[in-house]
Assembly symmetry: C2
Homo-oligomer: 130 residues x 2
Amino acid sequence: MSDHRVAPVAAYEPPYYAVVFTSVPATDREGYDETASRMGELVRRVPGFLGEDSARTPGGLSVTVAYFRDLAGIERWRRDEEHRAAKEYGRAHWYERYSLHIARVEQSRSFDRAPARPHPDGGAPVPSEP
Amino acid sequence: MSDHRVAPVAAYEPPYYAVVFTSVPATDREGYDETASRMGELVRRVPGFLGEDSARTPGGLSVTVAYFRDLAGIERWRRDEEHRAAKEYGRAHWYERYSLHIARVEQSRSFDRAPARPHPDGGAPVPSEP
């Protein structure tokens, strides 16, 4: 059974914004993990930040999607000084190439086979069988 | 050096649409790879399909982003009979949970350290150093 703490960012009520960042890493990854962790801390302080999901196929693409309530939050994050410095360093060292898409979410849906909820006995939620 | 054939879907001229599908796999993955491959074939036939990027962190989330020129393509893909059957089977077997976001891309950017282009000698393109 999968770890119930692993969950994608929820499907919020539209409208909200998604920033899709898809990248191919370069060979040089020195300092990347520390900076990525620091950026994760910083973006959480941006008003209207809703969460982010990231996956990386070993040897392949990385796909990160960050969600914001509005464009103002995205713009604020874009202008953050520490973030700007990290992006500049990343282009020089960490990324072979990337695409970035800023998009307004118009529809959202979600599925949870076993919605997290308190069990009457205080135990784990019981999965609903298909 | 990274494989130059690995490249994210390009940053098209907006507007276009992104469908973000973020999932946590269930334990049962039987038949998943074959169906995913078949869905990949089918979606390429949808008019206005622009491409898709997918990454999966081992033991964690999968993030897939498919791009379409317009909502009509997304709707057509949503109603495809084989796709519908696959989604139904996936909810019963393959996914613990997922979120789906359909979003209109308003801005896009890309970066390529070594744009693919024919080299005068017919060799590999020379990376531009930072």
